[in-house]
C-alpha cells in the first residue's frame, strides 16, 4: 500500500534520513522504532508532505506522492496523528472532529463517522462542546486519533501516540490502535516505546541515525536478544 524507496531528507546541511526503504502492506500494523532523533518523526513528516524530500520516492497505492502538498496527500487517503497531539485547543472537541473531515462532501456518512468516533471514545462525546484545550493529555490523544479517523483514511500515520501518557492509558491507546486495524485501517506506527509497539505490530523496522538497521516481524524482534538489550532495556520487566 505504501512503499518508501531510498528516502533521503536533510534539514540544511544536517542529514536526517540517509536513504531508507520500507513498505507498509495493506491491512497491517507496521512499527517504526528507534531512539530520540533517529529520524522517526522525519519519516512521518516526509510521507505527510510537511518536509521536502531530497531524493527517493514515496509511493502510495501506485502513485508517487513525494513533493506533493500535505492537503493533497491527506485527500489521497493518508491521515496523520501528529507527535504531541497538536489538537486545536481553541476549537471544541466536536469542531476538531469536523475539521478532521475537511475535504468530505458526504454529509450523512460524515455524521455517522462522528458517532463512530464517539463510540470508540465515549469520553469525547461527554466533552463534545468543551474547548479541546481543556481536555486531559489522554483525552487529547484520543481526540487526535479520532480527528485523524474523520477523513476515513486508508493509511493512518501515528507519531508517538503513547508520549506523555500514564501506563494504563498507553495500554488503552494501543488497544484502540489494534482495534482500528482489525476494522481495516492500515497503520504506520512510530514509537519510542518499543515494547508496547512490538506487541501489536505485524512487522517492525528499527531506525538508527537516519538508517534502518534491523527489521522483522514484531514477535520475532521482541525475542531478539540484541534488540532487547539495545532498545527495550528496562522495559523488559514492564
Amino acid at each position: 500500500m505504501l512503499e518508501v524507496i531510498n528516502l533521503e531528507v536533510a534539514y540544511g546541511a544536517i542529514r536526517a534520513l540517509s536513504g531508507i526503504s520500507f513498505t507498509v502492506p495493506q491491512g497491517r500494523i507496521v512499527a517504526l522504532l528507534g531512539a530520540n532523533g533517529a529520524g522517526k518523526s522525519t519519516t512521518i513528516r516526509a510521507i505527510a508532505g510537511l518536509v521536502p524530500v531530497k531524493s527517493g520516492r514515496i509511493v502510495f497505492q501506485g502513485e508517487e506522492i513525494q513533493g506533493r502538498p500535505p492537503h493533497f496527500i491527506n485527500r489521497r487517503g493518508i491521515a496523520v496523528c501528529p507527535e504531541g497531539r497538536r489538537i486545536f485547543p481553541n476549537l471544541t472537541v466536536l469542531e476538531n472532529l469536523l475539521l478532521g473531515g475537511y475535504g468530505r462532501k458526504d454529509k450523512d456518512s460524515f455524521r455517522q463517522d462522528i458517532t463512530g468516533v464517539f463510540r470508540i471514545f465515549p469520553r469525547l462525546e461527554e466533552r463534545r462542546h468543551q474547548r479541546a484545550g481543556t481536555l486531559s493529555g489522554g483525552e487529547q490523544q484520543m481526540l487526535a486519533i479520532g480527528r485523524a479517523l474523520m477523513s476515513r483514511p486508508r493509511l493512518l500515520l501515528l507519531d508517538e501516540p503513547s508520549l506523555g501518557l500514564a501506563p494504563l492509558l498507553v495500554r488503552e491507546v494501543f488497544h484502540i490502535i489494534e482495534r482500528l486495524n482489525q476494522q481495516g485501517t492500515t497503520i504506520l506506527l512510530v514509537e519510542q516505546n518499543a515494547f508496547a509497539a512490538l506487541n501489536i505490530a505485524h512487522y517492525a523496522y528499527i531506525l538508527e541515525n537516519g538508517r534502518l538497521v534491523l527489521e522483522g516481524p514484531g514477535p520475532e524482534l521482541l525475542a531478539d536478544p540484541h534488540l532487547r538489550e539495545a532498545y527495550l532495556g528496562e522495559g523488559l520487566d514492564f
Binding site: R75, E95, L99, G103
Partner: protein, 298 residues
C-alpha cells in the same frame, strides 16, 4: 451637557466606532493568522473610495453598481497583496513581511497619486445616505444611523461564517497551528487568501462609508483611519475578532466624547488615540479581550 447633545454624540461615537471596527477586523484577522500587521490595509479604504468616485463620476454607473464593484475590487486587491507581497515571504523573518507591508502601502498611495492626482475629489454620496433625521430635538444624520446598521449586518455575517462553517473553523485553527491544519486536508494558502478577502471586503465597505462621512477622496485618506483601526485592534486584543469590534467602538466613543466634553482638547483627538496605543502596549499589550500571548506570538 444636556441629554439631547449627549444622545447626538453617542450616535456619532457609535458610527465612528463602527467604522473603526469594520476596518480593524482586517488587521486582526491577518495578524491572527500570519502575525503580520498589514500596513497596506488602511489604503484599501482609499482604493475603494476611488473606485466608487470613478464609477459614478467617470462612467456614470448607478451608485449600487459602482459601490458593489468598489467593494469587490477592494476585496480582490487584498488577495493580490497577499499573493504578491506577503506569500513569497512566508518563510522569511517577520520583519521582512512588515517592510513589505509598508512598501505595499506606499505603492498604493503613490499609484493613486499618479492615477488620480493629489487634488481631493468630492465623494458622490447617494441621496439614500444623505439627509438628517429629526427626532424630538435630536438631529441625527441618516448616515450616522446607517453606518452602525450596515456594520452590524456585515459583522453578523462574518461571525456566522467563522463560527459555523468548515472554512471558518479552518480559519480559526490556522490562527493556532497552520501546519496541523494542512494535515486535515485543508489548502492553507486558500484559507489565508480567504482571510485577506474577507478583511479587505470589509475595508472596502468601510471605505465607502468613511468617504460618505468625510466626503473628500485623496490618495492618503486611508492612512489615518487605518492607523486608528489598528489602534482599535490592539485595544481590543489583536488577533481577536470580537476584540476588534469592542476596541473599535470604544475608540470611536472615546474620540467623540473627548471632543464633546473637552472642546478645548478637540485638536488633540488623534494624540489621545496614539497616546492610548502607547499606554495599552505598556500596561496590557494583550488588549481587552486578548488572551495572554505566548512568547512565540510576540
Amino acid at each position: 451637557m444636556d441629554i439631547v447633545t449627549l444622545v447626538q454624540q453617542l450616535v456619532n461615537g457609535l458610527s465612528l466606532g463602527s467604522l473603526y471596527a469594520l476596518i480593524a477586523i482586517g488587521y486582526t484577522m491577518v495578524y491572527g493568522i500570519l502575525r503580520l500587521i498589514n500596513f497596506a490595509h488602511g489604503d484599501l479604504i482609499m482604493v475603494s473610495a476611488y473606485v466608487a468616485v470613478m464609477g459614478v463620476g467617470l462612467f456614470s454607473w448607478p451608485w449600487p453598481v459602482a459601490f458593489g464593484l468598489a467593494v469587490v475590487l477592494t476585496g480582490l486587491l487584498g488577495v493580490m497583496l497577499e499573493r504578491g507581497a506577503y506569500r513569497p515571504l512566508r518563510r522569511a523573518p517577520r520583519i521582512s513581511l512588515l517592510i513589505s507591508a509598508i512598501a505595499a502601502s506606499f505603492f498604493l498611495e503613490n499609484l493613486f497619486l499618479v492615477l488620480a492626482g493629489g487634488r481631493p475629489k468630492p465623494f458622490p454620496t447617494p441621496p439614500w445616505f444623505a439627509g438628517v433625521l429629526k427626532w424630538g430635538g435630536v438631529f441625527i444624520p441618516r448616515l450616522s444611523l446607517l453606518i452602525p446598521v450596515v456594520t452590524a449586518v456585515l459583522l453578523a455575517a462574518l461571525f456566522l461564517l467563522i463560527q459555523r462553517t468548515q472554512v471558518g473553523r479552518a480559519m480559526r485553527a490556522v490562527a493556532h497551528d497552520l501546519e496541523t491544519v494542512s494535515l486535515m486536508g485543508v489548502n492553507v494558502d486558500r484559507i489565508i487568501s480567504l482571510a485577506f478577502l474577507l478583511g479587505s471586503l470589509l475595508a472596502g465597505a468601510g471605505g465607502l462609508l468613511w468617504a460618505m462621512k468625510y466626503p473628500q477622496v485623496n490618495p492618503f485618506m486611508g492612512i489615518m483611519p487605518g492607523l486608528k483601526a489598528f489602534i482599535a485592534a490592539v485595544l481590543g486584543g489583536i488577533g481577536n475578532l470580537a476584540g476588534a469590534v469592542v476596541g473599535g467602538l470604544l475608540l470611536g466613543l472615546l474620540e467623540i466624547m473627548i471632543v464633546a466634553f473637552f472642546p478645548a482638547w478637540a485638536g488633540y483627538r488623534d494624540a489621545v488615540a496614539f497616546g492610548l496605543l502607547i499606554v495599552i502596549l505598556l500596561v496590557r499589550p494583550t488588549g481587552i479581550l486578548g488572551e495572554s500571548l505566548g512568547e512565540e506570538k510576540l
